[in-house]
Amino acid sequence: MSISGLLNIARDAMASNQIAMDITSANIANVNTPGYTRQRANFTASGNVDVSWGQADSGVRVDSIERLYNRYLEGQIVDQAPKTGFDAARQEILGRVEAVFNESGSGGLTDSLSRFWNSWEALSANPTNQAARYSVVSAASNLASLFRETGNVLSGVRQDIQNSMVSTVNDINTLTSEIAGLNAQILASGSEDGSANNLLDSRMELLKSLADKINISYYENTDGTISVTLSGGKLLVGGNISEQLSVTNGIIVMNNNPSEVINDLITGGRLGAMIEMRETTVKGYLDSLDQLADGIVAAVNVQHQAGSDAYGAPGAVFFEPPTGAENMWVNAAILADPQKVAASSVTGNDGENARLIGALKDDLAMAGGVSTFNGFYASLVGRVGADVNAASGSVDRNTAVFNQLMAQREKASGVSMDEEMIKLMKYQFGYSAAGRLLKVASDMLDVLMELVK
């Protein structure tokens, strides 16, 4: 064994410890980088020398730079992300809807409905009273405008969801093309030696962002690239190719097959929640509100036409014919002249017709004959509340699961400052020792040089 061999060993040791310190410093620097996976320099003994009893290891080198991560855990996080994304979007949307149905103060639809029915009864007891006629007309137009307003807000929520779907689909397209781009870079750099570690981290982060927006599956290919599919096996990313989506009026298709609507395949992520809210939940609320408005309009109109107004003429339609909550209007002729309110059954002022209209509030006219108008609305509000409640519960559960997975991930892949500091000291000590070795070898060489002088 030669003295120059000693020099080589010392050189390799210093270099290896320096690389390890680089890696440690990268870990320290990235302590707050989202999705960063801590790395470790793996040392291995290199080469060997002949000694009298055989061979001995000689020197050290950094064999690889390893990403410390749990593949299974990362997969679980990507699986969980569509659920948390779905819940978060659903909770946001339902929160807006709930505000529409907030009846805890006065001035809501329940109040307005009660005032409407009561105004008829007041008129029935005082059919010649002009003020009573005016109050029927004003309660009715207030009721109609509240129905219109509530309907408009719900329609507006659906329209907003439709707009959000456009930007979400754009985000999804950007993410899939970025993932495809990273696939190409990872393929070019080779994934084994650690030079692609940062690219792998970035790709995993993009994958998690994508999973937050849409339900996906992914698998790793042997060449280091990943393939991303939508449920139903539709490929979103394959190698360096990404398939783009487009959305028109809430209808989502893949650009490579524009005739096939894929809304039904999107059941998770923020986009899944948007589709469900727009097509089912919020639409359901709007449908119920329309049924209620149409039911009131139809029942009041029938009874109103059975009566006679203050001029002795038969009652006209009281509301414009039923076409949903957003189009609920009091008949303009009655609005202009409350004498046309048909309060009485005959050409007198017995108020009987007004009494019968007032009593409509107790008719089980809704939900197939089991619910009053007020009761139907109260159930609708209860339904919204229950949906919001269920959504919050689901958010709590899925967030807890997600946080637990993230905590697990942090255990495996997160940076601990204390640990890195200790490693830094360890490598620094190794570096110093190797330096001392160099000095010793240098001194030995000096001795030899003196001998030959």
Partner: protein, 301 residues
């Protein structure tokens, strides 16, 4: 196996706990400020439905009570008019009885009084309230009684026998009027008996026909009794309404306390809860502030 605690994990735990505590503290504060347990439908969906239904029921009860007040006004006015008529019938009887024992001239003078009394009774019978004739049934804009002066003079009833109704409860209504044909029954000839009797009395007095005066007096007594029966009816109607009203008052109180039970927050409990939340929040803040107090960095020089 060594459990690694990364720095991010520590920050996330503390931040998550603080935001959870802030959320629940806000919930308690919301309830404290509104003093209600239900501030939005999702706070208690089933309770929200119930409270909304109860509010609607409460509003309906308020209206039923208003209806009853209107009905009572009508019935009390009816009673006043009927009492007036009753007094006039009694007066007519007195005038006729006095004249019975008087001279022919007295009887002629009495006949004039009877005419005046008949006119006054007619005006009571055509009484209005809020522009509605009180005794014409459902035809409240038709004057119920009018004299037909083609001989023999007769009084014609132009109203009907319909009752005027108000709602006093769910699917429950009550009539509040007395129709003219009930208060003043028709004679065999189809006219109004009471006015025909008064006319007959007047004619008998003028003709100084004692047996006819006696017959008319007996008929007048019968007519007066019908009026008195109707006065008794108004009392019965009033007490019915009063009973309904007191029942509604009871219902209203029940509804009110049901709403309160479901909706109102327990302030004492909330105040205690709030203190606990603040305590927990302070502890979390303190833990967060001390998070970096311990680090290996303090020991490395």
């Amino acid at each position: 196996m060594i459990t690694r605690i990364s720095d991010n994990a520590r920050y996330n735990t503390i931040a998550g706990n603080i935001s959870n505590l802030q959320g629940s503290t806000q919930g308690v504060l919301d309830q404290l400020s509104t003093q209600k347990k239900i501030n939005q439908p999702s706070d208690d969906p089933e309770g929200t439905t119930m409270v909304l239904n109860l509010h609607a029921a409460g509003a309906a009860i308020d209206q039923y009570k208003e209806n009853i007040i209107s009905g009572e006004t009508w019935i009390k006015t009816t009673e006043i008019n009927l009492n007036g008529i009753n007094d006039l019938v009694t007066l007519a009887q007195g005038v006729a009885q006095n004249a019975e024992g008087g001279s022919a001239a007295d009887r002629v003078a009495a006949a004039d009084s009877i005419q005046t009394i008949s006119d006054q009774i007619l005006s009571f019978a055509n009484a209005e309230l809020d522009g509605r004739y009180m005794f014409s049934g459902a035809k409240t804009d038709t004057k119920p009684f009018a004299m037909n002066n083609t001989p023999p003079p007769a009084c014609i009833y132009s109203g009907d026998s319909q009752s005027l109704n108000i709602n006093i409860g769910q699917n429950s209504s009550i009539g509040y009027n007395l129709t003219g044909d009930a208060v003043f029954p028709a004679s065999a000839g189809g006219g109004v008996a009471l006015f025909e009797t008064l006319d007959a009395l007047k004619a008998a007095l003028q003709a100084n026909d004692s047996p006819a005066i006696a017959t008319a007096l007996a008929d007048l007594k019968t007519g007066g009794m019908v009026v008195q029966d109707n006065i008794a009816k108004t009392s019965a109607m009033l007490s019915n309404l009063e009973f309904a009203d007191s029942h509604l008052t009871y219902l209203k109180n029940t509804v009110g306390s049901m709403i309160s039970n479901r909706e109102d927050a327990d302030i004492n409990k909330l105040a205690a809860e709030y203190q606990m939340q603040i305590l927990a929040l302070n502890a979390s803040y303190s833990a967060a502030a001390k998070m970096n107090a311990q680090s290996i960095l303090d020991f490395i020089r």
